[in-house]
Symmetry: C2
Subunit: 444 residues, 2 copies
């Protein structure tokens, strides 16, 4: 497979608007799965599309032999929504290469990263070649909505999915060319708040002053989540948080990650919880983030209403040893406690998943570090990440195996944002990494 | 003009989607003005459409005589936006009669109320009849956006618009059949807040914890506007508020308005500033109301972004003797003082206008009360209102004349809300009221 061919096939893959959270795209999600299964069959694996109850799961495998280690390569073919559309320089599902970057929704998260591995495998299998390991490829379509169907699928297919280690490229590199092993992830827990007041939007002159305003009520509730210094004020929420280890604080301080955060974000300043560095806040501290808010009149000009309702969408990022259900219990209890009179609130839980943490100095950690070193050169950065891949915890609990997180994304790849990109260079590096990694795991 | 004819013509008037705040409707606004001018010419007045710099103003007059009082009848032909559309039982610009109610956007605010007067005038002029007063009709197209062009128009046309008193039906009756004279209105001052953080929406896992969230920042700012008991906390904001007079407190307490407020609003409970009755809060206390809020992802499901920006649309209702500019100065200073680090805020002022208060026991007040008593019977309720008609203060300052506010709307007419209505009965009563009122003013 030439590099031109691998890019052409990636572009085909990126053209599917496989947005898992939007029901109007469910046919696109399904079409993407079918295309992916065809591709995997085409490179010499035995592949198929499997129903999961939600969006389908694509599975593929080579011929397994009892004397080889088994590696499960995991990825996801679903993507985030694309709005605000007007901020995209090129159409999100019409991939282009711009300044050495592949630009499209899913370019980095996660089609591009996973597809680099698949092209590495394709090259190894070309001309009758063989892999050094037994391979299981599992690519799901519900990662961006919290993988609701995958745990049950793992439970039902334990034997078929039995393996020694899981490999995932769905995280980031610390910077261009810096080999990076991620040994920890934050968990997630989603909650939507709806605040209702009057039966309909009222005239703010005729009623204002005597009827509680749902937006005001919501703002006052949201303002109780943190103190003035960014610390979470929800009682009990942080009780289970595991302290950062001394070696981690020291290692992270030398990475220069704080300056990079400020540069990439474009924010006027870094902010957050007093007593922790910005990197520590992201990698090892929980958050309660408001992802969206809405209520009343949002159009041009003024509309003098006292609105009937308002809502906010929250996601918490969790760290070891917070339990997602407990975190949501505490958050819900707090919100009910601070909800003012004159309104009614409805709390609806979304997806959730626990944080993950593995010792990078044991198990397959050293093999992964050798593969990264051989691919990129230099010193391997050992990091945690602030994002969540809840399924990593499921692999540990259900299949009993650890996960190697070998990220290929860069901090400015705009995952989840307009103008998502993935460097052509990283796409090539990922193909090389796959080949040396499977070898290192085979020999570890 | 039969009652069937007057309803038919009103329906024609209501069919124009003359939404002044939405630029895409500016041709509709203009078409509505032209229709109205044609109608006024048709009933025997000399009418025309006049440019104002914004949406046009419709003027009409009868032949004036030096020995008669001059009455200026004011109204507005523009209407509020219609969203949320899905809550309308019938299309907002396709008027229907349902259970004795005319249902359409503008039915009560203000096309229906003004048109009742115009039909009263039409009847008086039919078959060569004459009015007992010199009449000036002034109907503008910018009331719902704060009448930005009208003060300059009044200044430029003082002589043509010279009069003894202004008559407006753009307020409410206390209840069905209760004759009501409104002697006070609240003022208004609009402000939009925009909070910007990162340059683009960021991944809330990769960045969350170290970058200030603009929605959180906005919620925290909005939560500082009031205390736990509904009192405004903006320093100095309430300093100029004139106390409620003893006779007003007494008169209002007997009106049964509080129970009506709760019933009509559909809210779970009344709320607001401690130390005042709900009626006092609306008629004589200022508010800072959040009319709309938006930011981040508002679609279905979850999108784990740390958003680039958030905004809120605020309007303050003001009472005598608050100055709108001073109120906005104080509010802006407060918001800048409480805006957190890590975000930048932009404050944009909208329209504003001062409150109005006139003694109902002097001037043309008694004549108006006699006309109301003759039309409806019973005891005339003397009330203030929470809404704003800033132009009333302009009539006082520029033309030097007081305004009689003779409302025909009912509390459940859904002004500014979906399913706006106007009782057919009140439409008829307004026509009768016009005829007796002009007589009472002529003889006062």
């Amino acid at each position: 497979m030439t590099s031109r061919e691998s890019l052409d096939r990636l572009f085909e893959y990126l053209r599917f608007p496989s947005i898992s959270t939007q029901p109007e795209h469910s046919a696109d999600v399904r079409a993407c799965a079918a295309w992916l299964s065809d591709f995997l069959n085409g490179i010499g694996l035995a592949a198929g599309v499997h129903e999961s109850g939600g969006h389908p799961i694509v599975l593929a495998r080579n011929s397994h032999r009892a004397d080889r280690r088994t590696v499960l390569l995991y990825g996801h073919y679903d993507v985030q929504p694309v709005d605000p559309m007007e901020l995209w320089t090129s159409a999100p599902f019409d991939p282009v290469i711009r300044d050495g970057l592949i630009a499209a929704r899913g370019a980095t998260d996660n089609k591009g990263q996973t597809f680099a591995h698949l092209c590495g495998i394709a090259s190894a299998l070309e001309d009758g070649g063989e892999l050094p390991v037994n391979l299981v490829v599992l690519i799901e379509g519900e990662e961006e909505i919290g993988s609701p169907s995958l745990p049950a699928f793992l439970e039902s297919n334990r034997e078929q999915l039995a393996c020694d280690v899981v490999v995932i490229s769905d995280t980031g590199m610390l910077g261009p060319g810096v080999p990076t092993l991620t040994y920890g992830l934050r968990g997630i827990a989603a909650l939507e708040i709806e605040v209702r007041g009057p039966a309909i939007d009222l005239h703010s002159g005729i009623f204002g002053g005597a009827i509680a305003n749902p937006i005001t009520a919501l703002a006052r509730m949201l303002a109780t989540l943190h103190d003035d210094h960014g610390a979470i004020l929800v009682p009990g929420f942080c009780d289970a948080v595991r302290p950062i280890q001394a070696w981690e604080r020291e290692a992270w301080a030398g990475l220069g990650h704080d300056a990079e955060l400020l540069r990439v974000s474009g924010a006027p300043a870094l902010a957050g919880e007093t007593g922790f560095t910005p990197t520590e806040r992201i990698w090892a501290r929980p958050t309660i983030e408001i992802n969206g808010i809405g209520g009343g009149y949002q159009g041009e000009g003024t509309k003098t209403v006292l609105p009937a309702c308002a809502f906010a969408k929250l996601t918490c990022r969790l760290v070891p040893d917070q339990n997602p259900d407990t975190a949501l219990d505490l958050l819900e209890a707090h919100l009910r406690r601070v909800s003012p009179e004159g309104v009614t609130i409805t709390l609806t839980r979304g997806h959730s998943g626990a944080a993950y943490l593995a010792d990078p100095h044991s198990g397959f950690g050293p093999a992964a570090q050798r593969a990264l070193q051989r691919t990129f050169g230099g010193t391997v950065a050992l990091i945690r990440e602030g994002g969540s891949i809840p399924i990593v915890q499921s692999f540990l609990e259900i299949l009993g195996v650890p996960t190697l997180l070998l990220g290929l994304a860069l901090p400015d790849c705009n995952a989840h944002s307009p103008n998502e990109t993935f460097p052509v260079e990283n796409f090539g590096a990922g193909q090389r990494l796959n080949r040396v990694l499977l070898g290192e795991i085979a020999n570890a």
